[in-house]
Amino acid sequence: MAEETKFEPKIVAFLCNWCTYAGADLAGTGRNQYQANVRVIKLPCTGGIDPLFLIKAFERGADGILVSGCHPGDCHYNSGNYHARRRWNVFRPLLEFCGINPERIQFSWISAAEGGKWVETINGVVDTVRALGPFEGYQKINTIGPDASSESSQT
């Protein structure tokens, strides 16, 4: 079984400190297992996430990204998650335009009480990205130069 080197996607998760980070902690407290492909970066609020962070993560070899914060209405900072959502709505078409499959970035609301949802979400993201295959867009830019074909042509 182990001989075949299976593609293991690399996921970077940007989490807000108050809801999803605490939800991920809760999953730990409950010993709810999930796939180990995720590396978490904690920020105070999803509203403080610069889209360039996400691009940078892709550049560094991530195959998928999760951005997760408080449920609408529950933001610790009142409205940060709404701004994050709006920013995402603008950013998504830009990704598509750049040839990055928007499926690679997922956006979710997970509260501090939703350890189970964190597990489901992470497993979901890992499985989705595993199905999409490795993200090679940036690697090609780096190795082949400006002619590298965009990802959308391969999927």
Partner: protein, 681 residues
């Protein structure tokens, strides 16, 4: 310029080391991260010797940055940063790598966990490299507390704080303080009369020099932050001037609207349209119920000012106050502003709505009543003067069936939790009933008897053994009316038989639920709440009275079902937290705040003055600042962050078009360092 970074990997007993090879993590980290000058592992980093190790090594190794790979930063970030301070290291050079909650506990495969831990540590190491020294922000403390809710929790907390020498503003939305406790007949497990122990406290609160009371008032908005909250209170139009009114009762004696169900008596008695909720009300001055008053109804219909209506002016005519009457029909809501340093939320609960249990005839049959209604029946000051009479025909019920867990522990009705008080108050009800109706018989249907508390078990045993209440373990499937009897169909699961009881009255031990508007209220205060809309404490064990927002505390049943002793204890705890907070003139706050780039001479500020940041800031913390030339002329206007108001969400930093705003503790450099360190494979 490179930092000397020390990495301390915690075993956490075996919590981490069972699924993460901590030695390997330390080794790899040292090997692959230039700048990491010291690594070690330790059994319990958070223990005293563990902290000592950290303190000693900072000094011995001259560390300028520290990564602790251990449990969640929510647990011990504070602990380790404090330890660093003791060794002279700025605490913001200490970062926690969460390899327990987010690694060892969730990934059972040791090689996988080890690899992930190594990654997580590397990411934090890179962040530490970019960490800057930050100074805690000092904020001024307004030495005044706001208590929202005037039930026993609010009153207790108010008295404790007021006795501690600080001003207290109390806001109660009903016309009188007292809350649910004022409605109770006698209290378990001592059976002392609730009014007798409650009213002196109410009076004490009302007369306390340090307490300002706003009844018939609600919170309009709360802004600001720990130590400096700005509160707007809506004083609803009472139609009665509290300064002029003497509470002489002339007005409500003449009021012709006498058929309004009394909220205080749970609908078992009537009140007038101008009324005081109950005789011991505080303030003992009436309010006009504008929904039901015929004068206001007329004014609404004709669309005229209430004072212009001539339908009924009996109360104002009866008012003996002269020359200006104490009643003012045209009174309007008034908004007042107060500044407080801390807030206690004590907004209480409500009883499960009637009618949710159609199968028990709740809300349909008069003689199926709730626990709270039984309290009013049994109360000496209640509608029956304490005689147990059933509502439909005033007959003394000879067989009463008490049903426990109506709503509680029933996920199908939306309450999966235990309301905690019902076992005890049902036992109390059976006693009160037996004391008043000696030949009567009480049946109790229960799921489990949960009487954990001092003297509680003995109390419920007394109800069973000495007072002869028949306890049946099982649920009731249906209550229906047959003639003037109520047929209760249930099961006795201990004998495995079906039970059918012809009862005269049925009492439902209804669940305690969060207030209807709890959700909106929590959003108004930016505090978190749980799935049942009870407000969430900061930590279920270690921070039981703190809400998720600094400076806002919780007391009583707004946080979850509890009985009177527990409520009083929690109120006292919340009050002591507030007192501690108000004891200092200034507070230190985490310096995680945004800053507009000003390192360059002002004129070169990269801020372009678009003020997009101002639009997104939830705290109005962005101010404008003029950069002036020597002659005083304005060169340009740029943004500036008010540190006191900023809560550190980073919205402005992400929005800034010229990258002129940085969030201290999470600046771009730090985040990029973390991302760059992700480095898969």
């Amino acid at each position: 310029m490179g930092k000397k970074i020390g990495v301390f990997v915690c075993h956490c007993g075996t919590n981490i080391s069972a699924t993460v090879d901590v030695e390997k993590v330390a080794e790899e980290t040292k090997k692959n991260n230039p700048g990491v000058s010291y690594t070690t592992t330790y059994k319990y980093m958070c223990s005293d010797p563990g902290q000592k190790l950290l303190r000693d090594k900072i000094k011995e190794e001259g560390l300028t940055g520290v990564v602790i790979a251990a449990c969640s930063p929510k647990m011990h970030e504070h602990t380790f940063r404090n330890a660093a301070i003791k060794s002279g290291l700025n605490p913001y050079h200490v970062e926690i790598s969460n390899i327990r909650e987010q690694c060892s506990w969730v990934h059972p495969d040791k090689p996988v966990g080890t690899e992930k831990s190594t990654d997580l540590v590397r990411m934090m190491t890179e962040k530490v490299r970019k960490d800057k020294s930050l100074k805690p922000i000092k904020v001024h403390v307004t030495k005044r507390a706001l208590i929202i809710g005037g039930g026993i929790a609010g009153i207790q907390a108010a008295l404790d704080i007021a006795d501690g020498g600080h001003e207290v503003i109390m806001v109660e939305r009903e016309a009188s303080i007292g809350g649910h406790m004022a409605q109770l007949s006698e209290t378990f497990p001592t059976l002392d009369c609730s009014q007798c122990i409650m009213t002196p406290k109410m009076v004490e609160a009302a007369q306390h020099d340090n307490i300002t009371m706003h009844t018939w008032s609600e919170i309009e908005s709360i802004t600001g932050y720990l130590g400096n909250f700005d509160v707007k209170i809506r004083k609803k139009a009472r139609s009665v001037d509290l300064d002029l009114c003497t509470g002489c009762s002339s007005c409500w004696q003449v009021c012709p609207c006498k058929k309004i169900k009394s909220e205080f008596d749970m609908g078992l008695a009537n009140r007038t349209a101008i009324y005081i909720p109950f005789p011991q009300a505080i303030p003992s001055k009436p309010v006009i119920d504008r929904e039901n008053c015929i004068l206001f109804k007329d004014a609404r219909k004709k669309n005229i000012k209430p004072n212009d209506s001539k339908v009924c002016r009996k109360c104002i005519d009866a008012c003996p106050i002269a020359p200006v009457k104490a009643i003012d029909y045209n009174q309007e809501d008034e908004i007042i502003d107060v500044k407080v340093g801390a807030i206690i939320v004590a907004t209480g609960f409500r009883e499960l709505e009637d009618g949710l249990y159609g199968e028990y005839g709740g809300g349909k049959y008069e003689d199926v009543i709730t626990g709270m209604q039984f309290e009013r029946l049994a109360s000496a000051s209640g509608p029956t003067d304490g005689k147990i009479k059933r509502p439909s025909d005033g007959k003394e019920p000879e067989i009463v069936v008490f049903i426990q867990c109506v709503g509680s522990r029933d996920p199908s009705k939306g309450c999966s939790y235990c309301s905690k008080t019902c076992c005890m108050y049902t036992a109390k009800h059976t006693m009160l009933y037996k004391h008043k109706v000696h030949h009567g018989h009480a049946f109790v249907f229960y799921i489990d008897i949960r009487c954990a508390g001092k003297g509680y078990e003995e109390f419920s045993q007394r109800a069973i053994e000495e007072e002869g209440a028949t306890y049946l373990r099982g649920r009731v499937s249906r209550v229906y009316k047959k003639g003037d009897k109520l047929i209760v169909l249930g099961a006795d699961t201990l004998t495995g038989s079906v039970v059918e009881i012809e009862a005269d009255m049925v009492v439902l031990a209804s669940a305690m639920k969060a207030q209807d508007d709890a959700e909106q209220f929590a959003q108004k205060l930016s505090i978190q709440y749980d799935k049942d809309k009870f407000f969430s404490e900061m930590h279920p064990k270690l921070k039981p009275v703190e809400s998720s927002s600094a400076g806002i505390f919780l007391a009583g049943t707004c946080q979850g079902p509890k009985d009177i002793p527990e409520t009083v204890a929690q109120a006292g705890a919340a009050a002591s937290k507030v007192l501690a907070l108000l004891s200092s003139d200034e507070l230190e706050r985490e310096p995680v705040v945004a800053r507009v780039d000003r390192q360059l001479p002002p004129v070169f500020s990269t801020c372009i003055g678009c003020f997009y940041c101002q639009k997104v800031c939830p705290y109005s913390a962005i101010e404008s600042e003029d950069i002036k030339a020597r002659d005083g002329s304005v060169i340009k206007t740029v943004a500036r962050v008010n540190e006191g108001l900023c809560q550190g969400c980073g919205l402005c930093a992400a929005t800034c078009r010229s990258k002129s705003i940085e969030l201290d503790g999470f600046n771009d450099e730090q985040i990029y360092a973390e991302i760059n360190a992700v480095e898969f494979n």
